[in-house]
Amino acid sequence: MVAADLALGAAPAHALPIPSVPQVPELYDLNDFLVHCALPTSNLIGITIAEDGDAHFALPRMEVGQGITTAMAMLVADELDLPIERVHVSLAPARKELLFNQLTGGSNTIVSMYTPVRVAAAVARKALLDAAAVQLGALVTTLTIKGGVIFDALGNSVTFGQAAADAAPTTTRKVEVRLKDASQQSLVGTPQRRIDALDAVTGRKQFAMDLDVPDALPTMVCRAPDLNGTARSVRNESAVKEMPGVTHVAIIPTGVAVRARTFGQCIDAVRALDVEWNGGTVPGMSADDVLAELRRAQLPLVVPKLGAAALDAEFVFHFRSGSALEPNCAVADVRDGSATIWGGLKSPIDTQSKVAKALGLPQDEVTVNVVQGGGSFGRKLFSDAAIEAAHASKAFSAPVKLMWHRADEPRQGRVHPMATSRIRATVLAGSVISFEQRHTSVPTDFTHGLGERITAEVAALPTGLANLGFAETIFLLTQELPYNFGVITQLLNEPKPAPDRFNTSSVRNIYSPDVATANELMVDQLAARLRKDPVAFRRTYLKSRVVRRVLDRAAELGEWGRAMPAGTAQGIAIHKEYKGATAVLVEIDCRPETVNRKVRDAVTGPRVTRATVVVDAGIVINPKGVEAQMMGGFMDGMAQALTYGNHLVDGHFLEASWDNSAYTRQWNVPLDFRCEVMESESKEPGGVGEAGVAASMAAVACAYARAAGRMPTEFPINFRAPLHFEPKSYVPPVPESPVDGLDHTF
C-alpha cells in the first residue's frame, strides 16, 4: 500500500473562486472531432425494407455490449412507425468508401449516427408513402402509418412490404424529409430491453468463435516468454504434428501457430512445442524501471512551489489489461489471392488494410465481416487476432478459427499504459489560484488512426512522433477540469513515443480514469486545506452547470454527509466528458474485519458497500441501456482503483488469467448500487459506453482516502501488497486444463 498523509491545515477562507479560461473540450471535444470525421460519408447508409415489410439496417459500427444495435433499432422503429421487433440491425462489413465513418470508439456511435440514421429511416418512410399513394390512388398527405401498414382516409391499406416493391428509387435524387420531434417518438427516451437479450440468455447469440465456417479448425499461438518475443525456430515440429488432432504447425510473426481438431488439442500442442525464442521488447524491465523513465520525462511545472500555499502530489497508475471476456479471436480463410475475415472488429477498414498488407494482397481482395463482440473496452480497435489468423491461414493453406489462450491476454495483449500524474495546486488568500497537471504516460497506441488506411499509416510512422501527435490531440480534446481554479494547465508527455515496446490501446475512457482520479483526490485535498466539505467545495468552484446538477443529485440520492462508523467513509467525484457529466458517490468499508474477510481464492480488501451514480448523458435513447453502461463503468473503475493491475517483472507481466488479474467479482460488488439518468437540459445526445469509468475510479479512491486517513498515490492500491498468486510458467506459456472438474460441482 502506498499512501501519503492527508494534510490538513492552512487558513480557512471565504474567498471567491478565481475564474479559469475555457479549456479546449468545452468548445470542441473528441466527439465533435469524430462527428466531423464521419460527416462527409454519413449519408452513405440506407434502410432496406424487405418483402415482409421488416426494416433492415447494416450498422457501420460494432456492437460489443454497449447497446448500440438496440438504440439504432429504437430510432429506426420510431421514425418508421414500425414495431421494434420488425427492425433488424446487423453489422456492416468493412466498407472502404466510408473512410473515417466506420470506427467504433470514443463513445461516439450515438453522437455521430443519431441524425444520419433517423434521416435514412425518414427517407425510407417518405419513399414508402410515395409508393403507397400511387398504389392506393390517394394523396400522400392523407396517408397514415400504423405498425408497418399504410392507410388512406377511406381505410384502404397497403403493407410496407407491398409499398416497398415500388418504393426503391431507380435513380439517385435529392429528397427533403422532416424528422420526428420528441413528442412524436414512442420508443426513444423510454427504457427498452436489448434486442439481442433473448439470444443472449438462450445461448443462441453468436460470437466469432461460434460461427460455423467450413473447415475453419481451431488454431492457437504459442507465444514467447518475454513480452513481444518472437520465434526463431521450432525444435520438435514433426513430433508436435504427430500429436492427436494436430493438423498444422508454423512460425508466424507473433509466435508459433498450431491448428487442430479441437482447441483442447491446440493447448496440448502449444504446451508441447519446443521453441527457440528471440528476446522481447522490454528485456529485463520491471514496473519501477518504467516509473523511473516516466519520472525523468515529466514536463516541468511552471508555477513556483510557494511553501505552504502549494499542494503537490504525484500519482502512479500501473498497467492493467484491457482484455474482454471473449479473448482476441478471428476466423480467416486465405486462398487463391483473396482473404475473408470474420471477427469482432471496431476498425474493420483498418483491418482490411492491415490484413492485405500482411498477405501482400490488394485491399479490395480482403473481405472483413464484422461479428458482435464479447466486450471490447478498447481492445477491439486493433485487429491483432485477425492479422494473426490471416498469417496462419496463409501458412497452412487452410481456413483457421484462431483464438488466444486466456494466459496470453494479460501477458501479451493490449494494456492500459502505465502513467504518472504530477499535480501542483496553489492556494492564496483562501482561493485556488492555479492547478497544474503533468500527465506522463507510456504511449497509447493510436495506430488504428481513424479506422482507415491513411491516418493509420501516418500514426504508425516509425519515429512515433505521429502517434504522439494523435495522443496529444486526443488528450487535448478529452481532458477538462471543470473548476474555477485560476490558471489550469493539463499537459501530456509520452516519452519514447513509438508504441512498439508495450502493447497498449485506448482502454475504456483512455486517459480520463487516471487523470480524474488524480484530480479529484487533489480537489479533496484542496477542500481539506480550505476546511470545506468536499461537496460544498466542489459546488463553489465548479464552473459547469451540468456537472453541478449531477453532483447535487448524487449527494442527495446517496445521502452525502450521513454519519459513518470509523473505518468507513463516503467519497464523491465528478467527471465531464462525452457531452455530459457523471457524479459518483460511494461508501467504502476499510475496517479490518471487512478488509480481511475470506472468500476462497479471492482478492477481497476494502469493500465498496454502496454506490450511487448520477449521469447527464444529453438526449437519451434508451435509459435502461445508459444505466447498464454506468453499472459496467462503475465495476470497471472500482477495480482499477482497488485491485486490478498488471505487474511487469523482468521483461514480462506476471498475470496470466482471471485467478491472477483481480477484476471486480461478486465478492467486491456494492450491495447497494443505484444509477439515475437525469433529465437533461442538452439538445444533443451524449456518449455513454465510457462515461461511467472515470468518476467511479475517482470516487472509490476519494472514499478510500477518507476512510483510511491516507491519500492513496499508487493504483491499484494493492499493487505493492504481496502477490496473491504463484505466477504461472512462461515456458510453456499456457497452463494445462485441469481434470478434476467433477470434484467441484454444486
Binding site: 455490449g65 447497446g67 430491453r193 436489448r194 439481442d196 443472449a200 440468455v201 438462450t202 445461448g203 443462441r204 447469440k205 453468436q206 460470437f207 460455423d212 492427436p244 488432432g245 481438431r261 479441437t262 482447441f263 483442447g264 488439442q265 493447448i267 474482454a324 471476456l325 471473449e326 479473448p327 463482440g373 464479447g374 466486450g375 486466456r406 472468500v599 476462497r600 481464492d601 435502461k624 447498464a628 453502461q629 453499472m631 459496467g632 463503468g633 465495476m635 488469467s657 482471471w658 485467478d659 477484476y663 471486480t664 467479482r665 461478486q666 465478492w667 460488488v669 448500487f673 499456457v734 497452463p735 486444463s737 485441469p738 481434470v739 478434476d740 472438474g741 467441484h744 460441482t745 454444486f746
Partner: protein, 159 residues
C-alpha cells in the same frame, strides 16, 4: 479413436474423440454446441458453466472419458427443457426482466450457475443470502453484477 457416449440436453450422443479432450471442446468443436463459452480453460472464469446430472460444473476441466453413458449434461441450450412448458426457464425469464446481459458472453454460464445455486440452497432448506451471491465466481467483464444479483432473486422466487 475412442467412442464416448453421454446424454446431452435430453438426447444420447456419441463422439469419436481422444479420452483426455475436455468436454468444453467436445461440445463446442466436435458437436457444435456453442452456448458454453471459453474464458480461461482452467476453471476460474466459469464462462462455460453447465450442468452434469443437475449440478453446476465446468466442462473446460473435465475430460470426456470421465463422463459415463448415463450422465446427463445440460448446457444453456437445454435449460428451458428442464422445466415444464414450452417457454424459457424462470431464471432466463428473470434475466430478460432485468435486462442483465450486455455483451452476453458470460451470461450462459452465469444463468447455469444461478440455477444450480438456487437448487443448492433449496436442498439445504434455506433462502439465498448475500454471502451466497458473493461466492459466485463467474466473471462478467462488462460488470453486470448488480443486475445478476437482482435477477437471481427474481428467478429464485419463480423456480
Amino acid at each position: 479413436m475412442p467412442k464416448h457416449t453421454f446424454q446431452l440436453n435430453g438426447e444420447t450422443v456419441t463422439v469419436d474423440v481422444e479420452d483426455d479432450v475436455r468436454i468444453l471442446w467436445v461440445l463446442r468443436d466436435v458437436l457444435g454446441v456453442t452456448g458454453p463459452k471459453y474464458g480461461c480453460g482452467i476453471n476460474v472464469c466459469k464462462a462455460c458453466t453447465s450442468h452434469v446430472n443437475g449440478k453446476a460444473f465446468n466442462p473446460c476441466s473435465v475430460p470426456v472419458a470421465a463422463i459415463g453413458a448415463d450422465d446427463e449434461i445440460t448446457t444453456i441450450e437445454g435449460l428451458a427443457d428442464t422445466v415444464p412448458g414450452d417457454g424459457l426457464h424462470p431464471m432466463q425469464e428473470a434475466w430478460l426482466e432485468h435486462d442483465v446481459a450486455q455483451c452476453g458472453y458470460c451470461q450462459p454460464g452465469q444463468i447455469m450457475a444461478a440455477v444450480a445455486l438456487v437448487n443448492k440452497v433449496r436442498r439445504e432448506g434455506r433462502a439465498i443470502t448475500e454471502e451466497d451471491l458473493d461466492a459466485i465466481r463467474n466473471v462478467c467483464r462488462c460488470g453486470t453484477y448488480a443486475r445478476i444479483r437482482d435477477a437471481i432473486r427474481t428467478g429464485a422466487e419463480a423456480m
